[in-house]
């Protein structure tokens, strides 16, 4: 039944915590500007396909970043001669990314401590 399917896709995409997708997008863009399709490819490859991001869910996140002026977008021609809308991280985006990464790392450390107490004390 369609209802059930929908519910399942929703839970899948929510496997990421809020803001994770935005953070990964910003990080990818920090390395080099890219358009939506390339971003998806990049994120999936870098995560060794561990993160099965629904391709479309990238776009709401990109719009949020655009609105917050953390990225800017420009239509241009790609190396393969396609018309693409390329996103580029802004100065504000960089600052935001650094903050997010550091707070994420602290959170991740905290979670690891709780999950693996033994390893935390030895390290």
């Amino acid at each position: 039944m369609p209802v059930v399917n929908r519910a399942m896709t929703e839970t899948n995409s929510r496997d990421l915590f809020p803001g994770a997708l935005e953070m990964m997008i910003l990080e990818s863009l920090r390395r080099e500007p890219a358009h939506g399709y390339a971003l998806v490819q990049h994120i999936q490859q870098r995560s060794n396909n561990l993160l099965q991001v629904e391709e479309g869910s990238l776009y709401p996140a990109l719009q949020r970043l655009l609105k917050a002026k953390l990225v800017k977008a420009e239509w241009e021609l790609s190396s393969t001669n396609r018309r693409v809308r390329t996103y580029q991280i802004t100065a504000a985006g960089l600052r935001c990314l650094e903050q997010q990464i550091s707070s994420f790392e602290r959170m991740f450390e905290g979670i690891s401590l709780v999950l693996n107490p033994g390893r935390a004390t030895t390290s």
Partner: protein
């Protein structure tokens, strides 16, 4: 703040977004094809990988929106589109709501203006009406002076009486209604003059010492054309010179909401205004219309009441002869204390209840129409659910539709009610009296109407909620929406039955009221208003007094009697059934020796009449004789009494002639005649005793001539006016047919009938829409089944039965319940409407016929649709 340019750039953002997503899917497709998929497979895989494109695009767009506000806006646009698509439904719904909310707003507007809103004077909360007993007028002037001096609960107290005087500004004298007030009245109310000054306590120095007039703003506007030089002008009031001191502020019209006086004059000049020297000092004459007081700060009404009653017991001890029964109570000003407050409150509460019921019926009705619509749209809803729309979103959209409808209806209803209330405010039901209903709407009314609109929108929007929450999109898309409409009793059926029942209650009530009114028009008044004219002349107003009054009355009667075509002419001090009331006098049986009020036999109505009055008024003389002009001051005191007087006070009807009774001052009066019973103050009263005295033995300066003639009223009026003007050109005359004059008495039952009639009509309209909706729904749901039946050879009667049997069954149940309830409700009606009896075959038949007609009317169109089903077309469509 860059959200303003954002709004304009948004269109471009959206276009970019769509384009971007399209390109994304395209790129993925190409990639997959390069990996070896076929074009078709690649497209499908790319779309699957992307996810729900519509949803994601919408989410992306939402980023740029004020989410709730804009989605509500979108819902509204969608709702408007939906409503435009079914104009019949929209118009019915808005019209129904207009009527229902409008009715509530009007009734609430009246309730608000008369009961809820404080009187239009400064610090109205500390102003109270002091009442004694339960009569219309219950204070005497000496009592007032004592109360004012001796009480400790009030800062100050004031009184006023209502009277009418001829006001002569030099040309064309006319009658003016006046408040005869104590000098401090306007000061107690804390009113400031608009122009000039007011009179005060300090202007009073004994009888006739303060010949001053204060004009109301309205009177100044209409009679003096806003002339500011009017201050200081001397005019004549009943031929006595009075000086105009000033003008009261606009909107101020004293402390009785219904009554708008023309002028204020000091009560100490009462003798000049009425010609009565005695009454101002007579403790036993309770003629003061109303007493108001300003409560001292910190004193509770209960304390003030107790204090007033201690003063009262002091007065009773010191003036035992003038005592009167009853205790002092306090009441809100505005509706003449509890005298009008009680009935008005009861009537308005009843009306509010009824109009509330109408609104509920409207909601029930629209709810079922709405549910029918929701069912018709079940495919659409199912599709939207299947495409990933949440149930909340669909419900919100439905609510948007219902609230939109109810707001439209609410606003239309409010506008209609404002117009109606404005019209009511300037309406004067009786030309002779400055009575009106000051009910101009205010912010409270607007607020209530809007709240009612919103509440009813939510109420009828709720009806289809369960239906949608339970909807299984898969089943509906697969099988169409034929299921669900079975033989079970649904909430919708119950709603419809309730609503039909309410309609039947209203129809029953209004029919009972109409019948009651018809009866009261034809009932025996104890006189015959047809072919009789009344001439209202106040000889005091015209400056006559003492011996000159009866002589003048005799001259007038003789002059009119001489007009050709006049059958008989009599005069009476105050005609029966003429609002606001009647004169009364205390009588004792002949054997009573202690003439204190507690020994009184009764308080019969008191009429002073001339010899021909009984003939002129059409009152039949049952025994004995009428008066003659020889029953004067030299002859023994005589009276004519009615049957009720004879049986109640004299103990016998047949041989009453020749018996005696006593008046308050001990005078023995011999009964010389017996007349039929009648109605004296209002139509619903029980039988009351009445007595008639010859004018010459018991003079009265206020004279109403009763002229019986079969001549055309207009010609007769002209003829009478000319002969009376020949006698005295400065007399104020008012000539009207008696039947016209009676309209005032019939006013309450007329109003009740009109209100009920209007409510009944609205109820009927609601029922029609309700049954129509239900029948149309039932036909459209079963169109396919009906088509198959027709194809298989079913007869028209059977098809109709299948399609509409249920609607008729519900109609029958609802009408039955409503009729029973209506019969119970009419017991309540009996208080307002004369002889409202529910056990009237005509009413019963009328209700049944009316409900059947409603049913026929409402099922006509659906029935035609059911019969015109073309099975072939129908089956091909599916």
């Amino acid at each position: 703040m860059d959200w303003i340019p954002q709004i304009f750039r948004r269109r471009k953002f959206y276009d970019d977004l769509s384009e971007e997503i399209r390109l994304h899917i395209e790129e993925r497709t190409e990639q997959l094809m390069r990996d070896g998929m076929s074009a078709e497979e690649a497209t499908r895989a790319a779309q699957r990988a992307f996810g729900n494109r519509t949803l994601l695009e919408e989410r992306s767009r939402e980023v740029w929106q004020w989410p709730t506000l804009e989605s509500i806006w979108a819902d509204m646009r969608f709702a408007l589109r939906q409503l435009r698509k079914s104009p019949g439904f929209t118009i019915t719904a808005v019209l129904t709501l207009t009527l229902a909310i409008g009715a509530n707003a009007v009734v609430f507007g009246i309730l608000n203006a008369l009961i809820l809103r404080p009187l239009n004077v400064p610090q109205a909360e500390s102003l109270l009406v002091v009442q004694h007993g339960s009569g219309v007028a219950s204070h005497s002037y000496p009592d007032y002076l004592d109360l004012r001096r001796r009480n400790r609960g009030f800062d100050d107290m004031a009184v006023f009486a209502i009277s009418q005087s001829g006001l002569d500004t030099g040309k064309d004298p006319s009658n003016a209604w006046e408040y005869e007030t104590s000098g401090n009245y306007l000061d107690v109310l804390r009113i400031q003059p608009y122009l000039g000054r007011f009179f005060h306590d300090s202007d009073e120095h004994g009888p006739n010492s303060a010949p001053y007039i204060v004009l109301t703003y309205a009177y100044w506007h209409t009679h003096f054309q806003d002339d500011r030089t009017v201050v200081g002008r001397v005019v004549r009031l009943n031929r006595h010179p009075f000086t105009i001191l000033g003008v009261a502020p606009p909107g101020f019209q004293g402390t009785v909401l219904f009554f708008a006086p023309d002028i204020f004059v000091p009560i100490v000049n009462h003798e000049q205004l009425s010609g009565d020297k005695m009454i101002l000092n007579a403790r036993a004459s309770r003629w003061i219309f109303e007493m108001v007081g300003r409560l001292k700060p910190g004193v509770t009404p209960a304390q003030a009441t107790a204090d007033l009653n201690s003063v009262d017991s002091y007065l009773k001890k010191n003036y035992p002869k003038d005592e009167s029964s009853g205790t002092y109570t306090l009441a809100r000003p505005g509706l003449h204390g509890d005298y009008l407050n009680g009935p008005t409150r009861a009537f308005l509460t009843g009306l509010m209840l009824l109009s509330g019921l109408i609104l509920l019926a409207a909601c029930a009705n629209l709810g079922s129409l709405f549910a029918a619509r929701a069912a018709d749209r079940s495919r659409e809803v199912a599709l939207r659910l299947a495409l990933g729309s949440s149930r909340n979103r669909i419900l919100r959209q439905l609510f948007t539709e219902s609230v939109l409808l109810s707001l439209a209806g609410g606003i239309a209803g409010l506008v209609a009610s404002i117009l109606l209330l404005r019209w009511l405010s300037v309406w004067q039901p009786f030309p002779r009296y400055p009575l009106h209903v000051p009910v101009s709407p205010d912010a409270n009314v607007y607020l209530v109407a809007l709240v009612l609109a919103l509440v009813s929108g939510v109420l009828f929007g709720i009806v289809p909620v369960r239906q949608i929450l339970r909807a299984n999109p898969y089943e509906i898309v697969k099988a169409g929406s034929t299921g669900g409409f079975g033989r079970r009793i649904t909430a919708r059926d119950v709603l419809l039955v309730v609503q039909i029942a309410i309609c039947a209650v209203l129809v029953t009530s209004s029919m009972v009221a109409v019948r009651g009114l018809m009866r009261s028009m034809r009932s025996n008044f104890g006189f015959e208003p047809q072919n009789a004219m009344l001439v209202d002349t106040d000889l005091t107003t015209a400056g006559y007094s003492g011996e000159r009054v009866p002589a003048m009355q005799r001259r007038m009667i003789d002059a009119i009697q001489a007009i050709p075509g006049v059958d008989s002419v009599g005069s009476v001090n105050y005609p029966p059934l003429e609002p606001p009331g009647s004169w009364q006098g205390t009588v004792y049986t002949d054997t009573t020796t202690d003439l204190s009020p507690s020994n009184a036999a009764a308080d019969p109505y008191w009429y002073n009449v001339t010899p021909d009055y009984f003939r002129a008024s059409g009152t039949s003389l049952l025994a004995g004789r009428a008066f003659t002009w020889h029953d004067d001051t030299n002859a023994p005191r005589v009276a004519v009494v009615n049957r009720e007087f004879a049986s109640k006070i004299l103990g016998s009807v047949p041989d009453v002639v020749g018996r005696y009774f006593k008046l308050r001052d001990g005078t023995r009066v011999r009964v010389v005649g017996l007349v039929e019973d009648g109605k004296y103050v209002n139509l619903t009263e029980g039988q009351r005793p009445a007595m008639f005295f010859p004018l010459l033995q018991s003079p009265a300066s206020w004279t109403w001539l009763v002229v019986r003639s079969s001549r055309d009223p207009q010609q007769l009026t002209a003829a009478m006016r000319s002969v009376l003007r020949d006698i005295d050109s400065a007399m104020v005359l008012a000539i009207r047919p008696w039947s016209t004059e009676l309209s005032g008495t019939l006013f309450p039952s007329r109003m009740a009938t009109i209100s009920l009639g209007v409510l009944g009509m609205m109820g009927a309209m609601l029922s029609i829409t309700g049954i129509f909706g239900m029948a149309a729904y039932s036909v459209s749901k079963r169109l396919k089944e009906l088509g198959i039946r027709m194809a298989l050879g079913a007869k028209r009667r059977e098809v109709l039965q299948a399609a509409l049997g249920r609607a008729f069954k519900l109609l029958a149940i609802g009408s039955g319940v409503g009729l029973a309830l209506g019969l119970l409700a009419t017991k309540v009606l009996a208080f307002i409407v004369y002889q409202a009896t529910p056990r009237d075959p005509l009413v019963l038949a009328g209700v049944v016929l009316a409900m059947a007609a409603l049913g026929l009317l409402a099922t006509w169109i659906p029935a035609r649709r059911a019969l015109s089903v073309n099975p072939l077309v129908l089956l091909r469509e599916e």
